[in-house]
């Protein structure tokens, strides 16, 4: 390195005071250096201290945390030694932060223009008259269409991707030398994510900024970082060039992490990482990862490994850098995805289901006014016994809405939902019989919200058992223990409350509760998206096992195409509440495919340094479907012509139950569109 690092963190220890004045460490001896024009990725699971580290780089600690040792040098001076006034000038000026959820960090009551103006007022010397021109210039740089109109909008009038772009524009307003990005694209759609990362890469190059990305997603890191630092339990366990770390990481944890990520090109189940990381602030002797490491020896448990040279130019905190290659970095936890026989009878049938959130007012009905396009329209599909059907689409594609309608939590405006193919289900829960309700269970996205924090695991599991089977006493107890065993939690969990469980354990309890009803169909709404990757793999494995043992049918909703691929027999692709394509997984993921499927698949980020997403040059999310014609008409890169705007496209069968809804002939859909 020729020039001195811009951000230089040396031996940083951060902790909080526990009972009796002991200091519990959250970060332990972390060193990192980032130069101008370089981008560093900080990877770790939740609780690894990665966000604390990023905030510490700004000289900021969350309430309750204190710096115990070390220094954070920015531009030659320790951030913690600077005066509050100086910090105020640097933060948001030369050192920008882009937070995870920009929707929440923008002030809801101020227009975008006012918020950008505020930053300009604080951090740049331009005369006031030029502020608006500068704001427009900034919004243009982050490629927001019609910047002049956006200045006058309020944050809620923008989509998630647009809000993130505004946050980037605001960070750029102070002409920063360095940007800290805390999970900058988590929560955004794949297509939006790929576009934002492209923009950030370009900005880093043109402005020679130092970038620090914090992320749990190795796909993001692979796309934008030159170097990677892997944090585990507040310690640096691996640091090295991104390409090397992603191809052949020199630390067992990083290898296991790579193996736990489902890949688009891979139909094997990812391999789960057993155990859980030590909780923040816990003391351990020896290697923090020893308990979960396949290579761990007695020495690992007693002796803290120093940073040593690993393969290539990586440095690793492992006692056996020569042996790490024994751990496979590709999935295949041994489990083979279950496949459902093609002649199995239908378990659930949807006929022309249409859902509207907006109810027509009396006046509109009297005047026969046309309704706005429905949120979900004309969904017809069958789910066979023992089959798992994946539903993919961006946010707003209506996938969760459809699940809610099937579960009876939302009444469809039109259409029918049938159990098997003959029993008509009531539109809402109140109109369904208990045994119908029992056969259909739903697992929600976020276990923090779907488990009552005031109930113990026993109370949670006993609800369906009492309701449907009237179990009491010993029988109830036995059944609960059996259920916990089935999700690989022990009887000791019965007395715990959700607050005492990790994210993965909570989701297992939620799965166990669904299976307590002995259901035929389980609806899974993004059930792994709130989990860490290593935990996610374990939940996927569990679902696969349950499917094999019980022959349960699943509808698996996710925005993650790789996850849907490993779990599903068939996949349905949704855009704006309309089906675009449906068919066997392998057929949907290969050619020919609907242009929207193609756009989605191309935008996926893989944890592979050689993989680059192929993007459409102009692509943006839409908030509502068009009134007529193909729902994808406004974004379609290969529009057939005026017919797309007037007529709903026909279903075209390619055989084997694979159907695509497009005006273009199948031969035209054979070729890759993007790239």
């Amino acid at each position: 390195m020729a020039n001195p690092p811009l951000i230089d963190i040396r031996k940083l220890c951060i902790g909080f005071s526990g009972r009796g004045g002991t200091i519990l460490p959250v970060l332990h001896d972390v060193d990192l250096a980032v130069c101008r024009g370089e981008s560093l990725g900080i990877v770790g699971e939740s609780g690894s201290g990665k966000s604390t580290l990023a905030l510490a780089a700004m000289g900021y600690l969350k309430h309750g945390l204190e710096k115990i040792d070390g220094e954070v040098i920015y531009d030659g001076v320790d951030m913690f030694a600077r005066s509050p006034k100086e910090l105020q000038r640097i933060r948001g000026g030369k050192l920008g932060l882009i937070p995870q959820n920009s929707g929440q960090s923008l002030t809801p009551t101020l227009r975008i223009g006012q918020q950008i103006d505020e930053v300009l007022h604080l951090h740049c010397t331009l005369p006031k008259a030029l502020h608006e021109a500068r704001a427009i210039d900034l919004l243009t740089q982050v490629r927001l269409p019609d910047p002049r109109a956006i200045l006058r909008r309020y944050p809620h009038e923008l989509s998630g991707g647009q809000q993130q772009r505004v946050a980037i524009a605001m960070a750029l307003a102070g002409e920063p030398d360095a940007l800290l990005l805390d999970e900058p694209t988590t929560g955004l759609d794949v297509t939006t994510q790929a576009h934002i990362l492209d923009l950030l890469r370009e900005l880093a190059v043109t402005r020679k900024m130092a970038m620090v990305y914090v992320s749990h997603d190795l796909g993001v890191i692979a796309r934008v970082c030159d170097r990677v630092l892997v944090l585990y339990a507040g310690e640096t366990v691996l640091i090295g060039p991104a390409a090397e770390v992603l191809r052949d990481p020199a630390h067992p944890y990083a290898r296991a992490l790579l193996a736990s990520i489902p890949r688009l090109c891979d139909q094997q189940l990812p391999r789960a990482l057993n155990g859980r990381p030590p909780s923040p602030g816990s003391h351990h002797h020896g290697c923090a990862f020893a308990q979960r490491c396949a290579l761990a020896t007695e020495t690992c448990r007693t002796e803290r490994p120093p940073m040593t040279a690993g393969a290539g130019s990586q440095s690793t905190r492992c006692l056996y850098p020569d042996r790490v290659s024994e751990i496979d970095i590709r999935g295949g936890g041994g489990a083979v995805p279950m496949v459902c026989p093609a002649d199995s009878p239908p378990a659930l049938t949807l006929k022309d289901v249409t859902i509207r959130y907006q109810r027509p007012s009396l006046l509109a009905r009297l005047r026969h006014r046309a309704l706005n396009p429905a949120t979900v329209e004309g969904i017809s599909l069958t789910l066979r016994h023992g089959e798992s059907l994946g539903m993919v689409g961006e946010s707003g594609s209506g996938k969760s809405t459809i699940l809610k309608a099937i579960a009876g939590l939302l009444a469809p405006a039109e259409g029918q939902i049938l159990l098997d193919d003959n029993t008509l289900l009531g539109t809402t829960v109140e109109r369904r019989r208990p045994d119908q309700l029992r056969r259909l269970q739903i697992v929600f996205q976020n276990p923090d919200a779907s488990l009552n924090p005031r109930q113990s695991v026993a109370e949670i599991l006993s609800q369906p058992l009492r309701l449907y089977f009237g179990l009491r006493g010993e029988a109830l107890q036995d059944r609960m223990v059996a259920l916990l065993d089935a999700v690989r939690l022990g009887a000791s969990y019965l007395d715990r409350r959700p607050g005492q469980l990790s994210g993965g354990e909570k989701q297992r309890v939620a799965v166990a509760r669904a299976f307590a009803a002995d259901p035929r169909i389980v609806l899974c709404d993004e059930i792994t998206s709130a989990l860490d990757v290593s935990v996610q793999a374990a939940v996927l494995e569990l679902l696969n096992d349950l499917k094999r043992v019980h022959g349960t049918a699943f509808i698996f909703v996710s925005h993650n195409l790789a996850i849907v691929r490993v779990l599903s027999d068939r996949v349905a692709v949704l855009y704006q509440g309309r089906l675009c394509e449906i068919g066997p997984t392998a057929a949907v993921y290969s050619q020919p495919s609907h242009p929207y499927t193609e756009v989605l698949l191309s935008a996926v980020l893989e944890p592979d340094p050689d993989h680059a997403p192929r993007l459409l040059t102009e692509d943006r999310a839409e908030l509502s479907p068009p009134e007529r014609g193909c729902p994808f008409q406004r974004r379609c890169p290969v529009k057939a012509g005026a017919i797309c705007e007037t007529d709903a496209p026909p279903w075209q069968e390619t055989g084997n139950g694979h159907a695509i809804r497009c005006h273009l002939p199948l031969t035209a859909l054979q070729n890759r569109i993007c790239g």
Partner: protein, 289 residues
């Protein structure tokens, strides 16, 4: 929740509250008042009706620590005894107000729809009236004995609880575990009891403590106006009312009951504050870990 775990939780909460200055002071004040209220018939140096015509409106002395009132009754004894009726009536009316208001509020929060809309407008109408006014009307009609005061107070002080409970329930209703319970097909009352109530009890407890102090003030105001405790029985509000005429001659008569009432109110408010912090409802200074 079994009794053992409930006791353990109560002990745990009390311990945490006592560790905070507000909790320690608040609980001490409230505890002191309760002890006095229970034991005062035995510890009060004089009978509250005992008049001494030769010693009216006298200042503090060795015999009468806080002097005597216009009828020559011992102010100190009357002060000790003056909270009994207030504490008894509000002590019963507060939980009743909390229960009916809380249950109705939670139920409306879960159910929504037209019933919620109609009843909440009625609640709004009641809240728009100055609190003491409807109380006075009812008492004028039905008389002012404890058997009228208690249900009346419980009714009127339960109305604001509906609003608080409904708001707390709304926050919970949006969470997925309620959807999960609905999707399983539990009856609405079961959902209220098992899923909702445990999540709003903390809010209701703190609200209850606040309501209690308001109710004490309301009760004293009624007594002050002559609608509460009937003379000659001692009551702080009544004592202030009687003594205020002689304020310049014998300020003790006013100051003593005011101190008694305000220490109790301050004690309850401090306790509520500490309770809110202990239960994690007051997140203004929440630590990160």
């Amino acid at each position: 929740m079994s009794t053992a775990t409930l006791t353990a939780r109560v002990v745990c909460i009390l311990r945490d509250m006592l560790a905070r200055p507000s909790g320690a002071i608040g609980l001490t004040l409230v505890g002191l008042h309760l002890v006095i209220a229970v034991t005062s018939p035995w510890i009060a140096p004089f009978d509250y009706t005992e008049m001494n015509a030769t010693m009216t409106l006298s200042g503090p002395s060795a015999e009468h620590w806080l002097g005597t009132d216009h009828l020559g009754r011992d102010v100190f004894s009357r002060m000790l005894l003056g909270g009994r009726e207030a504490l008894l009536i509000t002590g019963i009316a507060t939980p009743v107000a909390l229960l009916w208001g809380g249950f109705l509020g939670v139920f409306l929060g879960l159910r929504g729809g037209w019933l919620d809309e109609v009843l909440m407008r009625v609640v709004d109408a009641f809240l728009a009236l100055p609190g003491i006014l409807p109380l006075l009307v009812l008492i004028t009609v039905f008389g002012s004995g404890g058997e009228v005061l208690m249900p009346t107070l419980a009714f009127f002080f339960g109305i604001p609880v509906i609003r608080v409970a409904r708001a707390a329930a709304h926050e919970v209703v949006a969470r997925d575990f309620i959807s999960a319970a609905r999707a399983r097909g539990h009856r609405p009352l079961d959902i209220v009891r098992r899923e909702l109530m445990p999540n709003v009890t903390d809010t209701l407890l703190v609200e209850g403590a606040m309501r209690w102090s308001w109710m004490l003030l309301g009760f004293s105001a009624l007594s002050f106006l002559g609608f509460g405790v009937a003379p000659p029985r001692p009551d702080w509000g009544l004592m202030v009312s009687d003594a205020r005429v002689y304020m310049s001659l014998a300020p003790w008569g006013v100051i003593a009951p005011v101190i008694a009432l305000s220490t109790l109110i301050i004690g309850i408010n401090l306790t509520a504050d500490a309770l809110a912090k202990t239960l994690g409802l007051d997140q203004s200074r929440k630590a990160v870990v």
